[in-house]
Symmetry: C2
Subunit: 429 residues, 2 copies
């Protein structure tokens, strides 16, 4: 008998009908002989509606109270889901994050999980019950206050609980059939990836692929817990996220070089680019700039420093950052302009990042050349470049993102013979 | 410095504007030098909306899950209220029933409070914070599951918490200015009662007055905790519900006979009357009838047994019960018809109960006669009568309730010189 942890997002439990459909799927898994623990997000737009209510009451609500408010969302969805399962003749028990033993630090709105003590969940499972757990929430170790985990919180709850329960798999249900070689809305011939390593999934998440959040993949990698990303609207196999070794095991009978070089093409339109123009080329100037940005809480992604022009003794430093951090970054840099002595600041939010990801590229030196050639042939101008062992990212004009993704996808033979993907709806939290 | 517990019902926190108004009132109480603990119900129609959702998912939801669902309602209102208070520059902390130490038995949907361990609430108060507590909910001692207290639950939470905290007063905010000598919608000249004893308030609640629930008055009486019933829409003094001794103390300078004989006239349209016709007048027959009804979970109010007609050796037994219990009662009685040997069953849901309440009537023998004379003069026919030491109730035709209430109110000189009452809206839970 396997222990399966399933996570359903907000779009999967948006209304009574969806909840009954999800209940049916859970009961099917149970009937197949598995123990089942379910993690659920708030219904559809509930979180936005609650945030709107908070906004009506207070422009800057205290984090503790905002968490208390938002966690009512999962309370509603999990209770309804337990009712729907009971209706099908199976016993289900809903548990808040606190009851499920999700212990966090006290950072309201973005709490980190410190420990998971799932005694009550294990007890319910041992009694043959289906446990329904509120995603996204926990209880702080120090203050015993209710906390929320922030973006990707429900996925993280599911993986953390699966790890603590020693589950065989964590199934993350979403509105697409799995992780694709590119966003099917841009590349209709994108293929579903059957197996992918944690590392590649992390790079894809970091590069804008929205299926899985960084945190939950990091958590799963640490505990070597297999994640199965699949659609709550179909019964197809989805994408298995497993350790690099396991992805190779799959091909152990064949030859490793048949492993595809490139897993997929990710893109991200949420970044902006700032260029600090005419920075005096002296030791410590770049450090001063990035120290200031760090103090302002700005997340930096890519950094490029041009070779200094010998004649002027000055250089330009460009970096990308979330567009939402743009104004904080510019404000903090203005303050040190005189001290550092740079000439001016440029801000461009009309950029996009296109990333090629694949563990196979480590041993294939021609990948970069092929990628750049494909972009050049498609007439796409590259503004910045950044690489890791299993990723190449380029910054291009925002209106050239689709062209670049499509060109790269084709160049690396990722296109399927026919359209595979169906995109069903929005994504939950 | 006094410790004040305030309870606000659903209509007082129906939307963002109301919540801000309530926050203002709480802060005013705090600024006046009091420690403040607030108990709050779910916003306006939230509970009904959640029940509707549950109904869409399951026709008969498990009690445990229904309680989990419904308790999200107070979670929303209390967090919003805490935010609104923070906005006014005061520190507020919201607490669930479980966090507030409201320990109950495991009867989902109608849990009884076993104990209150308000350590966290006391801690918040000691830190100068305003504690906001979810009404209507608790946590079961045995299973640690979330429970709800059923009808009047938030009032009971407030009184129980006030007793456990040794508060000076429990203020119950509602949408009228206090407890009136009669329902102001029927008797526009009804007067607000400044002070009333627990006993009289209990009789009024039992007789259909909807301001305070039986449970919370019983609780307050046990702990001799003063309740101040007042409007959340005005700053007028409301009605103080206190021990009988205290109501007399008020008049200690004067003479006790100046204490009004009658406190008020209550009415109730929610009952029905069943008559069991032709019951053999033998020992044990009535017992068999009421044992059957008790087993069917039917709540009996008034009972009248006619004198047996010597010729037939048979008698009629009439009783009143909540109209909602009517069908269960008739079904269970049908089953024992042959065994008991009664002739037939009559059911009348077109009745109303009118009750005269007043501690003063104990020592005034003429009250009953005056009451009946007033009803006779108004042309009201009395179908059943029941009395206690401080109450006389009669059953009349439902369309004669208004006439009877008005006549009794006038006969006992309860009319005010001018209209006092303003009815502001619905009532919360």
């Amino acid at each position: 008998m396997a222990l399966v942890v399933q996570k359903y997002g907000g779009s999967s439990v948006a209304d009574a009908t969806s909840i009954k459909r999800v209940a049916q799927r859970i009961v099917t898994t149970k009937k197949a002989g598995n123990d089942v623990v379910v993690v659920v997000s708030a219904m559809g737009d509930t979180t936005d509606e609650l945030l709107d209510l908070a906004q009506q009451v207070s422009p800057l609500p205290p984090g503790r109270e905002l968490d208390m408010l938002l966690t009512s969302g999962e309370r509603i969805s999990m209770a309804l889901l337990a009712m729907a399962i009971a209706n099908l003749g199976h016993e289900a028990r809903s548990f808040t994050g606190s009851q499920a033993g999700v212990i966090t630090d006290s950072s309201h709105g973005r709490a980190r999980i410190i420990d998971v003590t799932p005694g009550r969940i294990q007890g319910a499972v041992d009694n043959g019950q289906i446990a329904i757990v509120a995603g996204f929430q926990g209880v702080s170790q120090d203050t015993k206050d209710i906390t929320t985990l922030g973006r990707g919180g429900s996925d993280t709850t599911a993986v953390a609980l699966a790890a603590a329960l020693n589950a065989d798999v964590c199934e993350i249900y979403t509105d697409v059939d799995g992780i694709f070689t590119a966003d099917p809305r841009i590349v209709p011939t994108a293929r579903k990836i059957p197996r992918i390593s944690y590392e590649e999934t992390l790079e894809m998440a970091a590069c804008g692929a929205k299926i899985l959040h960084l945190r939950c993949v990091e958590y799963a990698r640490r505990f070597n817990l297999p994640i199965h990303v699949r659609s709550s609207f179909s019964h197809k196999e989805g994408t298995w996220v497993v350790s690099g070794a396991a992805t190779r095991d799959e091909n152990s009978e064949g030859i490793e070089m048949e492993q595809p070089i490139i897993s997929g093409v990710a893109h991200d339109r949420s970044e902006a680019k700032i260029t600090v123009v005419g920075v005096p080329d002296k030791v410590g100037e770049a450090a001063a700039i990035f120290k200031t940005l760090a103090e302002a809480g700005v997340n930096i992604d890519m950094i490029v420093q041009n070779v200094s022009a010998a004649a002027t003794g000055r250089t330009d430093i460009s970096f990308t950052l979330p567009v939402t951090d743009g104004s904080a970054a510019l404000t903090s840099l203005k303050k040190i302009q005189d001290r550092v002595g740079f000439e001016s600041l440029l801000f461009d939010d009309q950029i996009g990042k296109v990333s090629l990801i694949g563990a196979g590229m480590r041993s294939h030196p021609g990948v970069t050349a092929k990628f750049f050639a494909a972009l050049a042939d498609a007439g796409v101008n590259i503004e910045m470049i950044s690489t890791s062992e299993i990723r190449i990212s380029v910054i291009v004009g925002q209106d050239e993102v689709d062209t670049a993704v499509t060109a790269a996808h084709r160049a690396f033979d990722l296109d399927a013979d026919q359209v595979e993907a169906v995109v069903y709806g929005g994504t939950g939290r």
